[in-house]
Symmetry: C2
């Protein structure tokens, strides 16, 4: 098995973007290819969730390959709800590691603005099992994570303000990120008093509707930030089948696989990007990934342990909550922030960071990927 590195990265500004999904993909990919020194590309993988429903466009792999003038090389789109980007990256990593390809361009994108809000909400709900009664009875993603938040507070003694602390931290990080959707200052009070979305989550506890694209180039060898391992797991897409609402088995299992394959432990990780689709999701993820004990994630927030100077800075890009969440782009954007951190050129740079981790969740725990990275030469 060969070494695999990220040798280039590109990203569009997240938020409302009047460009098509194709043009956003091309922008991000051109930046990544130029940064990597325009090497030969052997394949193109695109992570995307809902371009058919929201952008009237599929065949993103072929369309992008053609537009970039890369010739007749293999291409495809990978879908796994909000984990689409992470899944596409994983396929590329596995195939470069195995020697099937020497280099793969991996992009993620979503064009979400434009349609009516109801159309967008319906498309997002395609990430639930709609054969079940759950979607039909009115369950939405904010609804699901709201129930988790209530249960979490009841079981572990957390308070509403601990959820708000996640949103505030990520907004404060986003204020330094020119690619982030939200860069306006806020306060714990504003977050706590914001328009309620679903009890107990308010507007600032929920990731927004966003357009955007992100891309990385993976190449064999060690001439870049090295990908040490990939973990992936599936979980139930049904709330009624969850054994314990406060566990996300896919997050845990994907982390476990990635730690085992890399020989790296949570204590070795210097910086983390994880899937804060809701404030509650970040608290559960920092527990499932082994950074804090089960039920103690909120204490870590209370004690600033997920900021610079704490146990491990989490979502220094601003996270999904404030950087934005163009679904298919998210998994790649998370990886870009980790790559930038390990290259010493990130917004909210963590000093002397040598190991980073990116976790990407799909659905209500239907998919999770974890990738672990090491600084070049470290």
């Amino acid at each position: 098995m060969r070494d695999v590195s990220v040798t280039g990265r590109g990203i569009t500004k997240f938020g409302k973007n009047t460009e098509s999904i194709k043009n956003m993909l091309v922008e991000a990919c051109r930046e990544a290819l130029i940064e990597a020194g325009r090497p030969k590309v052997d394949a193109v993988f695109v992570g995307n969730f809902a371009s058919g429903s929201l952008a009237n466009q599929e065949i993103l792999g072929s369309m992008l390959t053609n537009e970039l003038g890369l010739g007749s090389i293999p291409s495809m789109k990978v879908e796994g709800a909000c984990a689409s980007g992470g899944l596409a990256f994983r396929q590329a990593y596995q195939l470069v590691k195995a020697g099937e390809y020497d280099s793969v361009l991996v992009a993620g994108a979503e064009k979400m603005t434009g349609p009516e809000t109801e159309t967008i909400t319906n498309a997002i709900n395609h990430a639930m099992d709609n054969d079940s009664s759950e979607g039909a009875s009115g369950l939405t993603f904010p609804g699901f994570f709201g129930v988790l938040a209530n249960r979490y507070m009841y079981e572990y003694g957390a308070e509403r303000r601990h959820l708000a602390m996640v949103s505030l931290k990520n907004r404060e990080y986003a204020m330094n990120n020119p690619m982030a959707q939200f860069q306006k200052a806020t306060s714990l009070e504003e977050i706590m008093n914001a328009r309620p979305i679903t009890e107990p989550l308010g507007l600032f506890d929920c990731s927004p509707i966003s357009d955007g694209a992100a891309a990385v180039l993976l190449e064999k060898g060690k001439d870049g930030v090295q990908v040490l391992s990939s973990g992936q797991a599936s979980g139930t897409p049904l709330m009624q089948e969850a054994d314990d609402l406060l566990h996300m088995p896919a997050t845990y299992e994907s982390g476990k696989s990635a730690y085992e394959a890399s020989g790296i432990s949570p204590e070795d990780i210097d910086v983390v990007e994880l899937h804060d689709c809701f404030s509650m999701t970040e608290i559960i993820a920092i527990e499932e990934l082994g950074f804090f004990d089960k039920g103690k994630g909120w204490v870590a927030l209370e004690n600033d342990q997920t900021k610079h100077g704490g146990t491990v800075p989490v979502n220094t890009s601003g996270g999904l909550l404030s950087k934005g969440h163009p679904i298919g782009a998210t998994g790649i954007a998370q990886i870009i922030q980790i790559v930038d951190q390990l290259n010493g050129r990130a917004v909210n740079q963590v000093e002397n960071a040598t190991h980073g981790l990116a976790q990407n969740l799909g659905g209500t725990g239907a998919y999770s990927t974890v990738h672990i990275f090491r600084k070049k030469g470290a």
Copy 2:
């Protein structure tokens, strides 16, 4: 690199199916898993094109894995228009060959009936580049392949009846296939006089709207029909960018890669399933894949060279034209027919078949995959 074999296969009857896409997938997968002797499965890949737009459902990988009780193993959906099934199969083959997984369940499915015809046509058109003016100016898939057919007849001297011969051959094969959508006898006259769809293509020259699912289990080793090689290529999704309408570079390139990787030549192939989304497409494909000279495919039809007893029997399952074309399922269903042929248990069995080829096309040549197979022990 390890040997990889198909050890089990399952398929639903194609046509209108009142079951959900999940239930169709489960039916096909259970059959494949039982046939393979219920081995441990390491990952689940699903090929699907438009389940978001047509079936209000994504996350097919996770949903299927969960419904089959396979635990937290990795899963994903792969999209590449009508080549989605072939692309999913290719990923599985590459990763088992490389040792990343020992076994992968690969399924394909599409649920197309239900919505209004206009909704279905719009969803199918997501397989064009909708940033261009082509779709907006009214180009459809029948329109594209109709233009090709007119050009082909003009350049090479073929006649309308040669197109009809493709449809008739495939219907005659489908009459013996209990899983096929159309099993009613027809005649060259009926095909020639059928309702026109787009000049010169009539109703029988166009593949239908279908529901269906198909699945195969891939395992390391030689205990099944062996996968000798995989070829994949991308092509332009834009008609205006085609250098020559009568060439399908993706089909040619994917065939070339697969032949080179296997050491097998077109002359060694005993039976073929290829992508006859339109009668015209079959004639171009038998040329691009090297079975007949460029411009001479129609002569092969005239001389029965693509039937039993000819150069190579093509689409003995009935093809997309008569077996049906549930988009995501098609690539897997093609492979099932080849596997059945090499196991000596196919409908329209080709005697002493030892090598088979399956070709799956996406869009107007945006994607093509070719897989070459060898009989167990041959």
